[in-house]
């Protein structure tokens, strides 16, 4: 009953979300032709809500994927430095003033993706030097990488002009504002791809969540499946980060909350995690627009305000166990 209520509430938020924002829309004229309300609604608000939904799905699915592959609740693209890698890549592209490269794919997206994938390869390479049980050390490696990337990004700031820096600062705070339909459609495809690959390999993932050795002994090509899924998710993270900037904590919180609500094994939680992640980010975004502050509150700040305390709770709850 409570579950149904939660989903109904989320769906309600999704529906009313496009009507909320800095400009009050004239509801009657939205569906009329050529009004200001109509163009705000269809060119800005609806694409933004869809973008937020897909972004939340990609973040939550990636979180679930990382937690399962590394068998640790604290492993997410954000905590392991994959998001920071994407931010640095995108930041460098902004600094260099690179525009569209080819086939309409922006240099910022491409560099974001490369930053994320580079980090994944670096983590896999470095993890060879750890014993398989030392996943805590991998987390520390990820944190060290994040700090290193932040410092490198500071150098990019230092070298940048005032205008570039303003763009960079806004970028690093995270924002879901998109104009037009290009970004939501691109991210929609990518979200579908990430979901498809996680779902297609749900049985392999279930075995990998027991242990890598056990998965191998059941016939899973563990290194290949792990690498393939990590690259798919890095693609999602890279493209997402290059448009919206880093959005923390969604990948950490959502899989946990879904597991609390639905204590089933992994394959039963994949779709629910994707949907919940999407709805959750739409909710956060709606809150940030509804607050009517001087200018819009960056989405990264909203999720971090919710996620920070939750992260601390998780660590303490884990220590208790």
């Amino acid at each position: 009953m409570i579950k149904l209520f939660v989903w109904a509430f989320f769906f309600g938020v999704l529906v009313i979300s496009p009507f909320i924002g800095a400009v009050n829309l004239d509801v009657a004229s939205i569906f009329g032709a050529d009004s200001l309300s109509s163009s705000i609604f269809f060119d800005l608000r609806v694409p933004r809500v869809l973008f937020a939904f897909f972004a939340g799905s990609v973040l939550a699915l990636s979180g679930l994927l990382f937690q399962t592959l590394f068998r640790n609740a604290l492993m997410t693209p954000y905590t392991l430095g994959v998001s920071s890698g994407a931010v640095l890549g995108a930041g460098i592209a902004i600094k260099l003033g690179l525009g569209t490269l080819f086939f309409g794919i922006g240099a910022v997206s491409l560099f974001g993706f490369l930053g994320a994938v580079f980090t994944v390869f670096l983590l896999i390479y470095l993890s060879q030097f750890l014993r398989s049980a030392q996943h805590e050390s991998l987390l520390l490696l990820g944190i060290a990488l994040s700090l290193f990337y932040s410092a490198t990004l500071m150098i990019v700031f230092y070298l940048g002009s005032a205008m570039q820096n303003d763009m960079l600062i806004r970028f690093t705070m995270g924002s879901l504002s998109v104009i037009g339909w290009r970004d939501p459609i691109l991210l929609g495809f990518i979200a579908l791809m990430v979901f498809g690959s996680v779902y297609a390999y749900r049985f392999e993932l279930q075995l990998l969540s027991v242990s890598e050795d056990q998965a191998t002994l059941k016939g899973v090509n563990a290194p290949r499946v792990t690498l393939g899924l990590l690259i798919a998710s890095s693609l999602g993270i890279g493209v997402l980060v290059s448009v919206s900037g880093p959005i923390g904590f969604v990948g950490l919180i959502v899989p946990h909350v879904v597991a609390k609500i639905y204590p089933t094994t992994l394959s039963g939680r994949i779709l629910k995690t994707a949907l919940f992640g999407g709805f959750f980010l739409v909710l956060c975004d709606t809150v940030s627009r509804a607050l009517q502050t001087q200018s819009e509150l960056p989405i990264g700040i909203v999720t971090a305000l919710i996620g920070g305390p939750f992260f601390i709770y998780l660590i303490i709850a884990k220590a208790h166990k």
């Binding site: 049985f203 279930q206 075995l207 027991v210 050795d213 191998t216 002994l217 016939g219 597991a259 094994t265």
Partner: protein, 227 residues
């Protein structure tokens, strides 16, 4: 490298004994192909390295001493079903037949009452039985037990020992253990690893004189307690 120049041809039941750190577990992992090795390991006349991952899974299953599991919610029947993975069509769900095999296996081991429980909530003895069920559902000719009684109290050890002995009719059992009672009860030919060398005993291993010589501890008639 702990063991050197070991060539092994496994054709029958085998119990592997040896001191701590003598390379028992490494040998077991080498048999499964989990660690790189030099030399040759043959399972029923086939070289281990020639088998594909799925073929290998259909040939050998390996039961670790202790279950380490991240998924807190996976239930016993779902966990045992994982043993059917090598038979499953890629991307598709497990078939009705796979699920029937799981049912049969749970009944055979008399743990059907556990099937709805989550694996992480089971006792060590129940977890060991669940692992055995998974290996049986895997329908492999060879089952490797790595220290099956290491975490068990005597009464659970007895249950497991009886199960393992019972399985000798169905599959080929490779047992790695410190537990001499268990080894004696299971009563397979023994491979003893000492100082980087392996010694093979077809029968006479469990005689007091042999044990004294190998372990340097005085034994007086190793009692068989599990019957």
């Amino acid at each position: 490298m702990i063991l050197q120049n070991v060539s092994l041809e496994v054709q029958n039941h085998l119990t592997i004994l040896g001191a701590n750190g003598s390379g028992k577990s490494t040998l077991a992992k080498a048999i499964c192909g989990l660690v790189p090795y030099e030399g040759e390991i043959k399972l029923n006349a086939r070289n281990v390295e020639e088998l594909s991952l799925k073929e290998k899974a259909k040939t050998i299953s390996y039961i670790p001493a202790k279950l380490e599991i991240y998924d807190n919610f996976i239930r016993v029947e779902e966990f045992v079903l994982l043993g059917r993975f090598p038979y499953k069509k890629s991307f598709f769900d497990y078939s009705k037949e796979d699920k029937n095999i799981v049912e049969e296996t749970l009944e055979f081991l008399k743990i059907s009452h556990l099937k709805e429980r989550s694996v992480s909530s089971l006792s060590s003895g129940e977890q060991q039985l669940t692992l055995i069920a998974q290996a049986l559902a895997q329908r492999s000719r060879i089952i490797i037990f790595d220290e099956p009684t290491a975490n068990l109290d005597p009464s659970n050890s007895k249950t497991i020992a009886q199960r393992i002995k019972g399985l000798k009719e169905r599959c080929q059992i490779i047992l790695i253990t410190h537990d001499l009672h268990l080894a004696c009860y299971v009563d397979s030919p023994v491979l003893f690893i000492k100082e980087k060398r392996v010694h093979y005993y077809e029968r006479e291993f469990f005689e007091d004189a042999t044990l004294h010589e190998l372990y340097g501890v005085e034994f007086s008639s190793l009692a068989v307690k599990y019957d």
